[in-house]
């Protein structure tokens, strides 16, 4: 459960860390204001959580890779409980902290006492070598982050708050008070409470009750951003860190290989920034960023606040993904 208190701050709290690191990653909290709405006039608030949980499972929380394959990591003497890191109710991810793959995140699909089976990225292709450092990161689910009572539940999607999770796709859920579990807004009423909320994804709350404040505490990322962006279509994510950044400094035209700049918006890839529940679209015209519509004003100085939901929209039909990289904007 990430739920806790505190407004956005970065307090240098002592976090136990391996001897491999000579710093204490700061722990902080973020406050998100969820605007109030009603059943007939719901209001949607979008946000993303760029801070990470601390591992709770027994065994090593981080360490140097002893050996690896394209889809597994071994840490001799890790002391994990078999299957504990791949429990659907409390899933985990691996984030690489050093080496060529720094910042890459992989899902843990199985584990033994010293080996993790991982997916989502190929460790060989990432250029991982023995001795690279990784950490385990708990991945929240609808149950662990929100539980049954954070939001307004209901007998159907029309009467309940709807939570839309967006990464490469958008899927919507609500807490069904009759069934006593989370369900999709469409389709079978299967229990979806263990649906993971992937690191880097975006959350939209379509609120049908009074305004509220969500306070989420976590550890700031220690590495650069190294995330996949679909080569075609939308990828919903955030800017990677709990700090504000201008559109010019984000510099997607260089941060994502293959990003298309163009003199007219219809030919360019697009950055959409969610503000006040709506999306404002920008493109890089070869010199600076401007809105896809309206005057050709230079928008490089527009600030994207920490925790803001963004969309990277790449035109075309190429399959696969590109890698969004961004250096950590702070030091320890």
């Amino acid at each position: 459960m990430k739920k806790s208190s505190i407004i956005l701050f970065l307090a240098l709290a002592g976090i136990p860390c391996a001897a491999d690191t000579a710093y204490s990653p700061p722990v902080g909290g973020m406050t998100f204001t969820v605007n109030g709405g009603t059943v007939v006039a719901p209001v949607t608030t979008w946000f993303a959580v760029p801070v990470l949980d601390e591992p709770l499972a027994s065994g090593a929380g981080r360490g140097k890779i002893t050996s690896f394959t394209s889809g597994s990591i071994t840490l001799t003497g890790a002391g994990w409980t078999s299957g504990a890191l791949s429990n659907a109710a409390f899933p985990y991810a691996v984030r690489l902290l050093s080496g060529a793959g720094e910042g890459a995140t992989l899902s843990v699909s199985a584990n033994t006492t010293d080996t993790l089976t991982v997916s989502g990225r190929d460790l060989v292709q990432l250029g991982v070598v023995v001795g690279d450092v990784f950490q385990l990161v708990p991945v929240d689910t609808l149950n662990t982050l929100f539980g049954p009572d954070t939001f307004l539940g209901g007998v159907d999607a029309n009467s309940a708050d709807v939570i839309t999770l967006s990464s490469s796709v958008q899927l919507a859920y609500y807490y069904n008070t009759t069934l006593g579990h989370w369900v999709r807004t469409t389709g079978p009423t299967t229990d979806r409470g263990n649906t993971p909320i992937p690191l880097g994804s975006v959350i939209a709350v379509t609120r049908k009750s009074g305004g509220m404040t969500l306070r989420i505490v976590g550890r700031v990322p220690e590495t650069k951003v190294n995330a996949l962006v679909a080569n075609a279509g939308s990828t919903y994510t955030h800017t990677g860190f709990p700090t504000n950044v201008t559109i010019g400094s984000l510099a997607l035209q260089t941060a994502i290989p293959g990003w298309v700049s163009a003199s007219v918006a219809d030919n360019a890839d697009m950055l959409a920034v969610n503000v006040g529940g709506t999306w404002l679209n920008y493109f890089h015209n070869g010199t600076n960023w401007q809105r896809t519509t309206g005057p050709a004003t230079n928008r490089d100085s527009i600030v994207i606040n920490a925790g803001t939901a963004v969309q990277f929209f790449k035109r075309g039909s190429a399959s696969g993904s590109a890698v969004f990289t961004r250096l950590r904007p702070y030091s320890f």
Binding site: N35, V40, A172, V275, G276, T292, P295, V303
Partner: protein, 207 residues
């Protein structure tokens, strides 16, 4: 007549100053853009969905393909940034068209730093078949600059929303506070008229 002047002043103070932001008399122009299912197709466009209709001082957003997704919207850029002063409410004159299924919509003001102020309107606040007026308070983002507004957006605002958005817009204004409905005006002026009669009778009696 002193008391009458005081009452009239208080009525005007309550209603505040109404500032028209969009009168919908000529929506299609180089500064108006349509997005998602509200556009003609192929990126952000100055061309609306073919079923949208420019009327005499009104604009109809209609059609089976129009929906209330957050990605479908219309945005009006202003030739130069303008101010709404201290007005904290939006007033929308519109009507829900017969086929409308969207429960609500939002009007968003965007300042030159891309900070927004949003007002949410309940579709049922508007009459079906004739124009009526509804009000909603602006929820302002941190640092919103009400003196430097760059554009205004109308959107259904629901993630993946598919309800049919069918509305006819007449006018959108910024106001200091909700203006009383005509029935409220009738009550106010009825009371004033009654007060005037009583005052005149007393004057006649004293004379």
């Amino acid at each position: 007549m002193k008391s009458l002047k005081v009452i009239l002043f208080s009525v005007l103070a309550t209603t505040g100053f109404s500032q028209v932001i969009q009168d919908f008399s000529a929506v299609i122009n180089a500064n108006t853009f349509f997005y998602g299912t509200w556009e003609a197709g192929g990126g952000s466009s100055v061309n609306p969905n073919a079923s949208f209709v420019q009327g005499a001082g009104v604009y109809d957003i209609t059609g089976a393909t129009a929906n209330n997704s957050d990605l479908s919207k219309i945005e009006f850029f202003f030739s130069s940034p303008f101010s709404i002063g201290s007005n904290g409410f939006l007033e929308v004159a519109a009507q829900a068209l017969t086929l409308n299924a969207a429960p609500s919509f939002q009007v968003v003001l965007v300042d030159t730093s891309a900070v927004t102020a949003t007002a949410t309107f309940n579709a049922s606040s508007f009459l079906v078949g004739s124009y009526s007026t509804a009000y909603s308070a602006l929820t302002m983002g941190g640092g919103f600059n009400a003196a430097s507004i760059d554009s205004m957006i109308i959107t259904g605002a629901i993630p993946s929303g598919t309800a049919r958005f069918n509305f006819s817009f007449d006018k959108i204004s910024a106001v200091a506070s909700p203006i009383p409905e005509p029935s409220t005006y009738a009550a106010i002026f009825g009371a004033l008229a009654l007060g005037l009669v009583v005052w005149r009778r007393r004057s006649f009696t004293q004379a």
